[in-house]
């Protein structure tokens, strides 16, 4: 029977017309610049922009051998791992607690989802207001407790500040997914475990947490992508990559080398490396999606 194939409209011309706007925008603003980035990544331009020459993979070699680049790679990894772990751990804790309470579920949810709507850059600024050494109230408290707090001069402290802001903003997103994940676990499984004599903590670690694994894994990828790319605003607004290069992530460096320092070839090579990273992350994400389709 024909029911397995998709029912369609017989029309030769219309579908192209429908696709045209998206394809046009995609071609002009995605494929053309992306190919330009790849093209420029193998060129070297002289300082005056007068002549260019083909240099093969030289730009890549130089970028990957540059201590500054390796530093920013390290910064990115530390920043991403810390942000993802903190944002997810807090969100999971809150989601499990929200799953437990009977009264006020809706209110808790409403009050916890705000930060999703806050722009990353503004999240950074909010934390900066609290923690900047000259006027931040919390900074004032920390300093009056005798701790030498100055994120504008101390690289580690700057990192703590941007990680806090980045993780803070991401809690609500993770919270919503963990709540959905918890709701999809059949209650009968938990009841069976209770009958089998597992206490509450044990039930969580042996039943609930393993069953949440798909959600957790998915969020891990999403949070990593977030920390890599969407946090540009936080860094630009809060630390500007500094102090020193202590908070210069890969994306910030592409921007900085391209727009501020105007090293086109290097910036393009960095863009291409970033592209490869995104493709890798997306591929991981889709393997996950595929698996879900199989079991779901």
């Amino acid at each position: 029977m024909a029911s397995s194939t998709r029912v369609t409209f017989p029309n030769k011309f219309l579908p192209y017309l429908l696709l045209a706007p998206q394809l046009a925008i995609t071609a002009i603003f995605f494929y053309w610049p992306a190919s330009q980035a790849i093209y420029q990544s193998v060129l070297r331009e002289d300082p005056f922009g007068l002549s260019t020459q083909f240099v093969g993979l030289d730009n890549f070699r130089r970028v990957l051998g540059d201590p500054n680049y390796l530093n920013s790679l390290q910064v990115t990894v530390i920043f991403s791992v810390a942000t993802a772990l903190i944002a997810m751990a807090l969100a999971l804790l809150l989601a499990v607690m929200a799953d437990k309470v009977i009264r006020g579920k809706g209110i808790y949810r409403t009050l916890l989802i705000w930060p999703y709507a806050v722009a990353p850059a503004i999240a950074g600024m909010l934390w900066l207001f609290l923690f900047n050494p000259s006027m931040g109230t919390l900074a004032h408290l920390v300093r009056s407790a005798g701790y030498n707090w100055d994120p504008l001069l101390n690289g580690d402290q700057a990192m703590v500040l941007i990680v806090s802001a980045a993780a803070w903003k991401q809690i609500s997103y993770n919270f919503l997914f963990f709540v959905a994940g918890l709701q999809s676990i059949p209650k009968s499984l938990i009841e069976a475990a209770a009958i089998d004599g597992a206490g509450e903590t044990k039930r969580f670690w042996t039943i609930v947490f393993p069953l949440l694994a798909p959600t957790t894994f998915f969020l891990l990828v999403v949070n990593t992508v977030y920390a890599f790319f969407d946090t540009f605003g936080i860094i630009h607004a809060v630390t500007g990559g500094g102090p020193g290069k202590a908070t210069e992530t890969l994306v910030y460096k592409v921007y900085n080398d391209g727009f501020v320092n105007l090293i086109l070839g290097d910036s393009a090579a960095q863009s291409v490396i970033l592209m490869i990273i995104v493709i890798g992350l997306t591929a991981i994400q889709f393997r996950y999606v595929e698996r879900k389709v199989h079991y779901g």
Binding site: L19, Q36, L111, A121, F129, S134, V289
Partner: protein, 282 residues
């Protein structure tokens, strides 16, 4: 349902309340600061209760013009951001729903190629192609225009994929019934597909509105003129720790005004937003 003990529930409430404090405190603190005078803000610690300069500060920021951003009022920034967020949300929904419609309900040569071409854009966020994209915008004369702020962000694989996924759940019989009832592709789209997609559109709208409102890198590159700036960029320009003349009370007001509209959208459209978010990503 397993009975959990009252003590456990009490602890849960306490933890949730602490969570809410962490989540809400930075915003509340900024709100408090936005009702204080500049002198009070510069003399920490700040009081935990709002001060008495609410109207003064807000009207000054909204209609007075802020010196550091070339005397442009926050109202102008809010308007720019609103145009950008609405433009992106509506534009994205329109072009994605059309392309998803083409891909699901028609068979034509090159269908899968086009699908993959759209799909792969997922892997090309603006951050990885900053410079060349900027160059194209310059060449097209789109710097400091709404078109420049909106158009390039309108293409989205995510929205197309979401609509595609939803369209595939629509039974083939429904299409056939419509054809027997004399509805062509356009009538089917308008009378049946659009009304059925209502919830999806609403959910996507919330998410895309937030997406547009919170853009940072793109408006940073696309705008030079202060009066074309978005509120987030404007805010960034207003802040300087090195200069003594930063008008912190106005910064705080701007901050609250920048956060408020998207928060309202999220909270008021919570039902759709939560559904949309959890479904878009699956």
């Amino acid at each position: 349902m397993i009975q959990n003990n009252p003590v456990g529930r009490l602890i849960a409430h306490v933890i949730l309340i602490i969570g809410i404090l962490i989540v809400a405190f930075p915003i509340y603190y900024t709100f408090v600061a936005s009702t204080q005078t500049l002198q009070e803000i510069l003399r920490p610690p700040l009081s935990l209760l709002p001060g008495g300069h609410f109207w003064e500060n807000y009207s000054a920021a909204l209609f007075g013009g802020v010196g550091r951003i070339g005397g442009v009022g926050v109202d102008r920034l809010l308007f720019n951001t609103l145009v950008m967020a609405l433009g992106i949300a509506i534009g994205k929904i329109c072009i994605s729903i059309l392309s998803a419609y083409a891909i699901v309900f028609f068979r034509f040569p090159g269908r899968m190629v086009f699908f993959w071409l759209i799909f792969i854009t997922l892997m090309l966020p603006v951050e990885v192609r900053i410079l060349p994209t900027y160059k194209i915008m310059v060449d097209l004369g789109l710097i400091d225009t709404y078109t420049g702020l909106i158009l390039p962000l309108m293409a989205s694989a995510t929205a197309t994929l979401l609509f595609r996924q939803f369209f595939m759940t629509i039974p083939g019989e429904l299409v056939e019934a419509a054809r027997v009832d004399g509805a062509g592709p356009w009538r089917f789209f308008k009378d049946i597909l659009l009304p059925l997609s209502k919830t999806n559109i609403a959910a996507l709208f919330v998410i895309l509105f937030i997406y547009g409102w919170t853009q940072y890198l793109w408006p940073l590159l696309m705008t030079n003129r202060n009066d074309m700036s978005t509120i987030v960029i404007g805010l960034r320009k207003m802040i300087s720790f090195a200069d003594a003349d930063t008008e912190w009370h106005l910064v705080m007001v701007t901050c609250i005004l920048a956060i408020l509209p998207p928060i309202l959208v999220v909270v008021l459209m919570q039902r759709w937003f939560v559904r949309g978010l959890v479904e878009t990503e699956k």
